[in-house]
Each structure stands twice: as structure tokens, then as C-alpha cells.
Amino acid sequence: MTISPIQSRLIARRTLLRTGFLAAGALAGAPLLSACGSGSAESGGGTTGKITLGTTKIMQFDPYLTNTDIHIHSFYTYLVDYPSDGTYKPIPAGAEKWEFAADRGSVTITLRQATYHSGAPVTADDVVTGVKRAQDPDAGFTLAQPTGFIAAATAVDNRTVRLDFKRPTPEPLVLDWMFAFPLVPAASNTPAKLEHEPAGSGPFRLVEFQRNQRLVLKKNPDFYDAGKPFLDEVEYRFFTDEDALVAALESGSVDGAAYIAFRHADRLRDRYTLVEGNGRMSIFFMNALIPPFDNKLLRQAVGRAIDRERILKQVNFGIGDPVYTAFMPSSPAFEPAYLDSHRFDLDAAAALLERSGGARKAVAGVASGTPDVSKLEIIQADLKKIGFDLEIAPQEEAAYLDALFASKLQCTAAAQPNNMQSPSLVARGRQMLTTKANTTFGDKVPPAYVEAVDAAGSAITPEAQKTAYAALNAVLVEEAWAIGISTMPSLFALDKRITGLVTDVRDFVNLTATKG
């Protein structure tokens, strides 16, 4: 097509105008865009600013509960911290120093001089009250079992507290407890009071909370760690649907998406900073109270029919590591040899199944729409090859949890928390308790397991610990009601300007060193 001189002039004029508009727009838009972003006051990794994180997680302000991983570290200070790299070198936090008695029968903790968000000082009485609450099985929630080694807590003076143990207790177990123990004012330390409002001394204070909508936190200027946190403000926005959360991230409505599914990783990797948290473990639980899994050989057979490599590849998108017993690779009780000696082997599974002489049919409960359905489908297909019919019954999440806690499921795939550096903490979960409250065995918890947990929780010397952990692994493998599948790291996708967001070894988000 030829262009006439007039057309040419018109085009030139249009081009000129368009270029001019673009240039003007860019000049006007640049400051506007930077003002619209929820970004930092200083760009390029500055030390102040605001970030907005999206999450689908529910909110609780009670640090004794576990479903508080997204925000609870912002409100509370714990007695000690661990490095975020998954190692267990204690870092003084709420406790300035601590000293174990020579016989490992007690520890004396000196609290740091600090204040709560209310302005009241942190005192030894708060620790004593907190220990009493943790010892109450009805109010201690997930801290109840880990507090079991403490006989008494005594306030020596205003900033010193002594914990007397029931018997000599290994340091790692005490440190894990200190790491999980939050400082809460004595007057506020009840489930009812902490249900609606946090009461801690952590790096951020609560500004606003609209349930299922948003949570706004502001920097605590009185935080013990001078200069931290770096952020001035953090806003959490709640999403009911994970795809909506990721869409919000991609549209720029939020600066980061927390605890997202592995399937998003590949797509978001180039445009966002992906942070893998320490995560939890995925475990296949079999209920020994209900046939057919009251048959130990049958449980062992199923344990050999779990194809961890395939689950990691196809369900976890290659993220995570295989586990056989319920210990993360960072645990001193992690025993990689079991992944070889008890590897996926359908012939071995078939032989065990034959020897078990048990029924060849079971139903697996699972929350519908979760990746656990796909894990069970892989296990189901493999079990079918050896003549075992595993039916999968997806349920609405609330109904599933009710059935799980009421011990009504024959088997399921569920998450188990990290047992840190104390293998005896494996007995925290309902399926793993050493008491008759155990939902897998009821009042028939194998005595060998009870003894092994007890031994792991009292072994002081490295040699004794090694022996105790080996015995604990052996009984878990022998009884085979909780077969490890893999670790499940948590996944965060963050705007590239955000740095320093980490999770602790329990997989709780820590924003103290985050910059935006």
C-alpha cells in the first residue's frame, strides 16, 4: 500500500502526538504508580515500609494454638528463637539467659527486660501462669504434651523463673519447649481473653482486625531487639480461595501470597521471590481401632506400597523430601536408612499382605479438593495392583476433621508438625499420643511405643539419645500406623522487593527481619 504525502504528514503528526502522550503519561504516571503501590518509603531494599500479605489461613490470637502460623510471631515473643535455616542453636529472645542445673533437673531462666504492647513489664509471674495453663490439658492445647516434663515453675524474683523437672531432662527438649513458649501477661492468659485480642510483646502491635477481611499491624517501637522490625506496617488480607489469592498477587493487590500450593511454584518463579518455609510432614495414618488396620502386618504392607518419589514428583511438583517415620530430615531422629530398607516395593507389600491374612478393602477419608486426594489416588492405584481395594471418600473439610478427631476414619493422609530437635515431641499429635486419648489406639497404645517416647524424652547423653531415637524409630516402623510420605515445605510468593521473610522451624512466619 502506498502512502500519500498528506497521509504521511498525518501519520507523522499522529505519531508525534502519540509519542508525546506516552511521554507525558510516563512522566505523570511514574510518581502516581509508585504512590499507588503499597511499597516502601525507600526503594531498593530500604528499611521501612509497608507490605500487604494475602492468605487463606484462619486467624487466632492465642499462641497456644497451632493454626496461628501466619501472624503469631508478630504479636508474641518466645523465650528463645532458633535460626531460620532449620538448625537448633538457641538465640536469646524473651529469655536473656538460662542455666541448667548440673543434674539436668531444673533450669533457671532470666527474662529480658521488656514490656508488653500494653506497656506493662514482662515478669516471672507471667511465665509461671503460662506454665500452669500449658499443664492444663483443656487449656494448654498443643503446648500440653510438650510441657509434660515440668514439675513446677517458681518465680525467683521479678525477672527470674526456675523450672523444676519431674526427672533429669535433656537440654534439647527444654530448649524446644522454650522456643514454643510465648510470653503472655498473666492477667490475659486464658483462651477466652486471647480469642479476640493478642497480648504479647512481639515486634508488631495490632491496629485493626476485621475477621475474614483484614488484619493490620504496626511496628512495636518498644520491641526488645533495637532497630527491628524493619517494616512500619504489615497488612494481611484474607481470601477464601487460593486461586483468588494468587490472582490478587499477580494483579498487584497484595505484595505477597502466603502458604500457597506447590502447583503455583513454576509459574510464579520468574516473576516473584519464592520462599520455601520449613513446613510440615505428610503422613499416612491407619486407624488400629477399626478393622482392617487393627492388623499390624496389613499396616506394614500398606507402608511398603507408598510411592514417595512419585508423590513428590506429581503431587508436590518436586518440592520436599521423602520421610519414612515422622521425623524431618533436620531431626536428630531422622533415619534415611529406612527410606532404603522400607522403600516402595509392591512385591514386598504383596508378600506382607498375603501374610497378614486380613481383609483387602478399606476406606480412606480425606478433605475434598486438597492435594491429599491425589496422594491417596496414587496409593490407591498401587494397592490395587496387589489386590487391595482402597476406596477414597472425600468429605467437606469440617466433616472430615470431625471424623478424624472422633477416630472414625479407617485411614487418611494428614499433616504432622515438625518435632524439632526432640523426637519425643512426636507424641504431640492426637494419633501419636502415649495416653488413651490416642485416636489410633485408644487404650491399647503399644507399650513399646510408650517406653520409646519416654526414653527419648529422658535420654541425656548423646549415646543414650542415639539409642533411644533408634528404638523410637524401630517401634514406629514395627507398629506402622503412621507412615511418612514426605516433607511439605510451605511456599510463599513475594514481590521481589520484599526480603527477609522467613519461617521458623515450626513453620510460623517471622517478619522481624523483613524489609519491603
Binding site: 491425589s374 490407591q380 471418600a393 468429605q395
Partner: protein
């Protein structure tokens, strides 16, 4: 058998005329043909499907290829085979739900329309109760109470369809219960049940048949919806709704994965809709009954 002396048109002739009217609608014939093909595929799935739909033998999330015409899903299963087998879940749910809805709703409407008075009042209040709860919510509640499973799914959808059948049958019955041929049947000594079943019912069947098709069409969608929510056909049995749910998680890795079950759903509903339209044409003016209004949306 009691025979109405002044019935306007003999049944065989009426049926033939209706069939001719149906055949004149090309889209209805195309819909019927499409549904027949689908039904044949579902019925002969083991012969037609290239792979076992539960076999996790392939590489996951493969695109369409010679080996797997429509690719593979996240567990390496052949999507085409799962689509073919998945037609079973949809068609069984459609037929089952329509049968449950009609099986309860038609007798209820017939009794209410023919007997009237307190029977009518009680039946219609029951129907009002069912109508007061949105269909999908009713189905969800039934599934949560009875538990997931194919039979419970059919019951849940079918019970939601009862009000439409009951009201439709009642209206049609009311319109003919005092007609001469019905009075004649009664006059010749036919009992009330006999009159209802042998004289009234055959003359109200037209709109009921259309409602059956409409209900089947909606059942396909609701079955897919409930399975999408994880409350329908349990895994590993293939279902188009379940495949859509899985595909949703892998839209970026395998965009074509979700396309195929979606297309199957659209095509099936389209076929049923065309058949329904054709039946509407066929039924209108083909008998002594009043061309009753057939509900065409939002019933389930």
C-alpha cells in the same frame, strides 16, 4: 380395561403424529443423535476407550499426542479414556435423577390433582417446603447427611426435582379430571386408582416427558458441580466435574486439560436441550391435555 368413549384421538395415531413433529425439528434430531452416540460410548466404554481410565501409566500432564489423543492428567491417566468413562457418571446421574424426581413427583401431583381437597393441600405444602430450599443447597445438605456416593448423588438431585414434577402433573391432572372421557371411565365403574393410572396419566404424559429431559439436562450440570466440589462421584471413578476440578489446579501447566470435560458437559446439555425443544413441539396440540408449561430453568 376401562376405555373412554369420546377420547379425541387414538393413542397410536397421536404418538405417530408427535414423532413426525419431532422429526421435523432438525436440531432435535441432531440432539437425539448426539445423545445416542454419547450413550453408546458410555455403554461400550471398555471397547472404545484406548486405556483403562484409572491406569496411571503415562507421564503426567502430557498434551494431546498420537499416544494420548487428548493428553494425560496429573497422575498420567489418559484424558480421552476418562472422558468416555466419565460419560457414564453424567448419564447415570441424569437418568437416575430424572427417574427419582418423576417417580416421587408424578404420583404426588396425580394424587393432588385428582383427589383435590386435603390431599392436594398437604401435597402442595410438602412441595412448597422443598421449593423453599434452593436446589443446590438441598442437594448439598442431602449429600453431607447421607455421605458422598453415586446413589446418594442421584437421590440428592432427584429429590430436588420432585416439586417440578409434582406441580406439573397436578396442573395437567386438574385440567382434564372433569373432561368427558374421564367422567365416562368413572361412570363405567373404573376405580379411582384405575382411572388415575389408566385414563388420566397417559393423557398428562406429554409435559412430563419434556420435564424428564429438562431434569436430566440439569442433573448433568448439578452432578458435575457437586463432583467439582468433591461431593459427587468419588475418585478414581472418572467424572467430568471431577476432571474439571483437577484441571483447575493445572490450568497453567496443561491448558487443554480442562477444556475437554467442559466441552463434553456443554455438548451433553446442548443435546438434551435440543431434545427437550423437539419434544415440546411434538407434544403441543397432540392430545386432549392442556399444553402445560414446562419449567426450563433453575429447578434443581
Amino acid at each position: 380395561m376401562s376405555t373412554a368413549p369420546n377420547a379425541p384421538t387414538p393413542a397410536p395415531r397421536r404418538r405417530l403424529a408427535s414423532l413426525r413433529r419431532f422429526a421435523r425439528s432438525r436440531s432435535a434430531v441432531a440432539g437425539a443423535a448426539g445423545l445416542l452416540v454419547l450413550a453408546a460410548l458410555a455403554l461400550f466404554a471398555p471397547l472404545v476407550a484406548p486405556f483403562d481410565p484409572a491406569a496411571q501409566d503415562g507421564e503426567p500432564l502430557l498434551g494431546p499426542s498420537g499416544a494420548h489423543l487428548l493428553g494425560t492428567d496429573q497422575l498420567g491417566r489418559d484424558i480421552l479414556s476418562r472422558l468416555i468413562y466419565g460419560a457414564r457418571a453424567s448419564l447415570v446421574a441424569a437418568a437416575g435423577a430424572a427417574a427419582v424426581g418423576a417417580g416421587i413427583g408424578v404420583p404426588l401431583g396425580l394424587l393432588a390433582g385428582y383427589l383435590g381437597r386435603w390431599v392436594d393441600a398437604v401435597a402442595m405444602r410438602l412441595v412448597d417446603l422443598l421449593l423453599a430450599v434452593p436446589g443446590i443447597l438441598l442437594a448439598l445438605v442431602i449429600i453431607v447427611v447421607l455421605g458422598p456416593g453415586r446413589l446418594n448423588l442421584i437421590l440428592a438431585i432427584g429429590i430436588g426435582a420432585v416439586p417440578e414434577f409434582a406441580r406439573l402433573t397436578r396442573v395437567a391432572t386438574l385440567s382434564i379430571r372433569d373432561r368427558d372421557f374421564v367422567l365416562a371411565a368413572r361412570g363405567m365403574g373404573a376405580s379411582t386408582p384405575d382411572t388415575m393410572v389408566r385414563t388420566v396419566l397417559p393423557n398428562v404424559l406429554g409435559p412430563i416427558v419434556i420435564q424428564l429431559v429438562v431434569t436430566a439436562s440439569m442433573a448433568v450440570v448439578v452432578e458435575a458441580g457437586l463432583t467439582f466440589l468433591g461431593l459427587g462421584t468419588p475418585p478414581p471413578a472418572p467424572s467430568w466435574g471431577g476432571m474439571l476440578q483437577d484441571a483447575r489446579s493445572y490450568l497453567y501447566q496443561s491448558p487443554s486439560y480442562g477444556l475437554f470435560p467442559g466441552l463434553c458437559l456443554v455438548a451433553t446439555v446442548f443435546c438434551l436441550d435440543r431434545i427437550g425443544r423437539g419434544l415440546q413441539l411434538a407434544v403441543s396440540g397432540s392430545g386432549p391435555h392442556v399444553a402445560a408449561r414446562v419449567t426450563t430453568g433453575g429447578a434443581v
